[in-house]
């Protein structure tokens, strides 16, 4: 079996998590990715947290499946040396803001390779008024509206966890690189530039909230409290989300919880009624849930096809029988890793190697 990006060669000169996730996904789909690291190493290598051997876990995850070579971006003729290295490759991935690229003399034309696909992954894109403004996960979460929605009303807006912006933007960028390769096959081998703004991607990923705000005349406020209608609430051994939408979810869930009067009263079957009268039941439902362990409640509700979900920790996910049976967890170079985001029957996702050791020798074009 072949992989979708077999024979695709990628030169990764990016230094951000978004760029790194794009090339990780391209590598997982079969591309040969060569990562150029500055003499100080890729910035993710110094990002906490670290494993017991002192390796950055962020680097271990984002840089896996690639080969690495050292490249001094600050030495003379950076653009010329990169153009020579990029001659035999199909794709270059960068995370430079326009002013940084300009300082190094880098441009699409400077590569001198009309079949090249160059993907730019930057916080705000390579055009527009923010193109040269520095940004990161936090500022993209702030400007895209994600922070304003996350968290509680009584506290500050909250950014998404970890590197969600990088994952989303990197995934879109990988899709766009593949699209550009599809296009190149059709268009007589002509490459092009792809401009991915992490902010644009997160705005797109939050599109329902943008239209909702205009329809209602106000933005959705952060939630007042942690009650059963607003996400996970405590159960006997952790937290549990009971996301009631359809009428039968309500009836069956209330029956399981032993709240028969709530189950049988037809007023509660309508979702708008439940939402506007939640003070009348959320306390009782929360109390009843405290008597349940999360796995037991999940099993009871799943058997009735009620949508519900226990908050699982990484320890629980590692021993989860469903994921085990689907062989989700994978292995490379004797190390366990999270597996594929999707399963492709003919061209499988594959992790071949862990993150490369920091390169020690300078790369030169052959």
């Amino acid at each position: 079996m072949d992989q979708a990006l077999a024979n695709v060669r990628v030169l990764d000169i990016s230094s951000s998590a978004g760029g790194a996730w794009c090339t990780r996904l391209l590598a997982d789909l079969g591309a040969d990715v060569i990562l150029l690291e500055p003499p100080g190493g890729h910035p993710l290598r110094s990002e906490a947290p670290f494993d017991l051997d002192g390796r950055s876990l962020v680097a271990e995850y984002f840089l896996a499946n690639k080969r690495a070579a050292r490249f001094d971006f600050e030495a003379d003729d950076c653009a010329g040396r990169l153009a020579a290295l990029a001659k035999p490759v199909d794709v270059v991935v960068t995370s430079l803001r326009p002013s940084e690229a300009g300082r190094l003399g880098l441009s699409y034309a400077a590569f001198g390779n009309a079949s090249l696909v160059v993907a730019h992954i930057t916080p705000y894109g390579i055009s527009g008024k923010r193109a040269d403004t520095p940004g990161n996960e936090l500022t993209v979460a702030a400007l895209s509206g994600w922070a304003a929605l996350n968290g509680q009303a009584s506290s500050s807006p909250l950014r998404p966890t970890g590197h969600q912006v990088a994952f989303c933007a990197g995934t879109v960028a990988a899709g766009c690189v593949i699209a550009a390769l599809v296009d190149r096959d059709r268009e007589g081998g002509a490459g092009q530039e792809v401009d991915i703004s992490e902010l644009d991607v997160m705005v797109s990923a939050g599109s329902p909230g943008i239209l909702r705000g205009q329809y209602t005349g106000h933005s959705t406020p952060r939630r007042e409290s942690a009650d059963v209608t607003a996400g996970p609430v405590p159960v006997a051994d952790g937290y549990f989300a009971l996301t009631i939408s359809r009428a039968h979810f309500w009836r069956d869930a209330m029956t399981v919880l032993g709240l028969h009067d709530l189950a049988e009263d037809p007023r509660w079957e309508t979702s708008w009624y439940r939402q506007s009268h939640k003070d009348e039941y959320s306390g009782r439902v929360g109390e009843a849930m405290l008597g349940w362990k999360k796995a037991d409640l999940f099993e009871e509700l799943a058997a009735r096809r009620v949508v519900a979900g226990p908050v699982l920790t990484m320890e629980e996910l590692r021993s989860n029988s469903h994921l085990a049976e689907r062989h989700f967890w994978t292995e490379a170079d004797g190390q366990d890793f999270p597996g594929a985001p999707f399963r492709m029957s003919a061209t499988p996702w594959r992790l071949r190697s862990r993150a490369p050791e920091p390169p020690t020798t300078e790369v030169e074009a052959k």
């Binding site: 072949d2 979708a4 947290p49 494993d51 527009g128 008024k129 923010r130 520095p134 936090l138 702030a142 400007l143 509206g145 922070a147 929605l149 996350n150 968290g151 500050s156 909250l158 950014r159 966890t161 994952f167 989303c168 879109v172 593949i178 699209a179 550009a180 599809v182 401009d195 703004s197 902010l199 991607v201 990923a205 939050g206 599109s207 329902p208 943008i210 909702r212 705000g213 205009q214 329809y215 106000h218 933005s219 996970p232 989300a241 939408s245 799943a302 949508v307 979900g309 908050v311 699982l312 920790t313 990484m314 996910l317 029988s321 999270p338 999707f342 399963r343 492709m344 029957s345 061209t347």
Partner: protein, 417 residues
């Protein structure tokens, strides 16, 4: 000029957010996306047939049906055509069977049993249309003990490990304000289908893509998973903080619910921040002299910063800080995003004219190609808007035959008679 998927067609059975978002993005790539819905149970994001019209739309000249105006549906179904077809009827299934040979890919996000029950498992589709790509998005994937456990974004967030990571330091686990796992699933499915298209164009071979929302989202929590694997630690909830740098947070500004995000990732950036603030005494002490001290005294640091920012106007402060090279940004709400000039310049926000709902500012294409054509954005389709057009174009169906199908409830518009 063309777009990367110009000339390709997706006949899609996607609904709600994840699947619909994936196929909207494929439409933005130039593919002809034909969304198949059924009159007796339209996409849940259209809302119920008897749902009231949103207040802002009431009395509008063009507004007729609430199910064509729902902000949820209309925000993730741009650039599609919509046909109605009841696949549970023999005749509806037969028409779908005739359409399949004209499709390059199919995307669906039913519960795993549904497509099989309708007689359209991947093997059958591949028999009808050799080389077809079928992408299934489901809560837990199509195999394994949880395959038939129902799930939505709000329950996948907890079961994928994301909820355990989201929250304030020392606080309880949370779900995101939107059903974020749907967006994650949609983005991954988009990329998976493109990879399958490349393979198909080169080999003629199609394939089946099984996307489990739980797995796609767990991959996005993967660094914390790897942390557990390598160290045995469950990562703590960190709020807005960064594992290594401080400050890294969201701070109040003058006025109600006005906030600014500020981060310093190096000593230089901290000095730039100090300079921009005019070197206030509260930030100068030994407590905050280095990143490791700032990290160790992060509660005090955040209090000291908040005491400064809460006196300042958000917009002025953001301008001042970014001008000084500090990583900072205003915290926008949905209305501010719609009005932001920078996002409009980029083309990711723009006006969309819907034939019933009217003109609104919406999120559009989140990428730019230098050569490939930028697609013209079209509003989300009304229920069954393109049935007659698509059946005529693809199958040569005459208007009389379409009228008969509509009469029988197999196709048509609006609630069943």
């Amino acid at each position: 000029m063309s777009s990367p998927l110009s000339g390709m067609r997706g006949i899609v059975l996607t609904q709600a957010w994840a699947g619909a978002y994936c196929t909207e993005l494929l439409g933005f790539m130039g593919a002809d996306i034909i969304q198949v819905e059924v009159r007796k149970r339209p996409d849940s994001w259209r809302g119920a047939y008897d749902a009231p019209l949103p207040e802002k739309l009431r009395g509008g000249d063009s507004v007729r049906n609430a199910w064509n105006c729902n902000y949820l549906y209309n925000s993730v179904n741009l650039n599609k055509r919509c046909v109605t077809l009841d696949l549970q009827t023999a005749e509806g299934a037969a028409i779908f069977r005739q359409m399949l040979p004209l499709a390059d890919f199919v995307v669906e996000n039913f519960s795993p049993r549904v497509l099989n029950n309708l007689g359209f498992a991947y093997e059958e589709m591949d028999r009808i249309r050799p080389g077809i790509i079928l992408c299934s998005l489901s809560a837990y994937g199509h195999t394994g003990p949880w395959a038939n456990v129902p799930g939505i974004g709000g329950t996948i967030e907890p079961t994928s490990g994301l909820s355990a990571l989201l929250g304030y330091p020392g606080g309880h686990p949370m779900n995101s304000g939107l059903m974020y796992p749907d967006a994650v699933a949609g983005l991954n499915a988009f990329t998976a289908v493109l990879a399958a298209v490349r393979h198909r164009n080169r080999t003629g071979k199609g394939q089946y893509i099984d996307l489990s929302m739980q797995e796609a989202n767990l991959v996005f929590a993967g660094e914390a998973a790897l942390e557990f694997i390598r160290t045995g630690r469950q990562r703590e909830r960190m709020g807005n903080r960064h594992p290594a740098f401080a400050p890294h947070g969201i701070f109040p500004c003058r006025g109600h619910d006005r906030w600014i995000a500020i981060a310093c990732q190096s000593e230089t950036e901290w000095q730039q921040l100090l300079h921009a603030f005019g070197g206030p005494i509260s930030l100068r002490g030994e407590l905050f002299a280095s990143n490791s001290q700032r990290k160790a005294n992060e509660d005090e640091l955040e209090s000291a910063l908040a005491a400064i920012t809460c006196e300042r106007d958000r917009d002025e402060l953001a301008e001042q800080l970014t001008g000084a090279g500090v990583i900072a940004a205003r915290v926008f709400d949905a209305l501010e995003i719609a009005e932001d000039q920078g996002l409009r310049e980029r083309g990711v926000i723009g006006k969309v004219q819907h034939p019933e709902a009217g003109e609104w500012l919406q999120a559009l294409v989140p990428w730019r190609f230098s050569r490939s054509e930028k697609p013209l954005v079209r509003a989300a389709p009304r229920l069954g808007e393109h049935s007659a057009e698509v059946f005529a174009e693809l199958l040569g169906m005459d208007p009389g035959e379409y009228a008969r199908l509509a009469e029988a409830g197999i196709s048509g518009e609006g609630p069943p008679d």
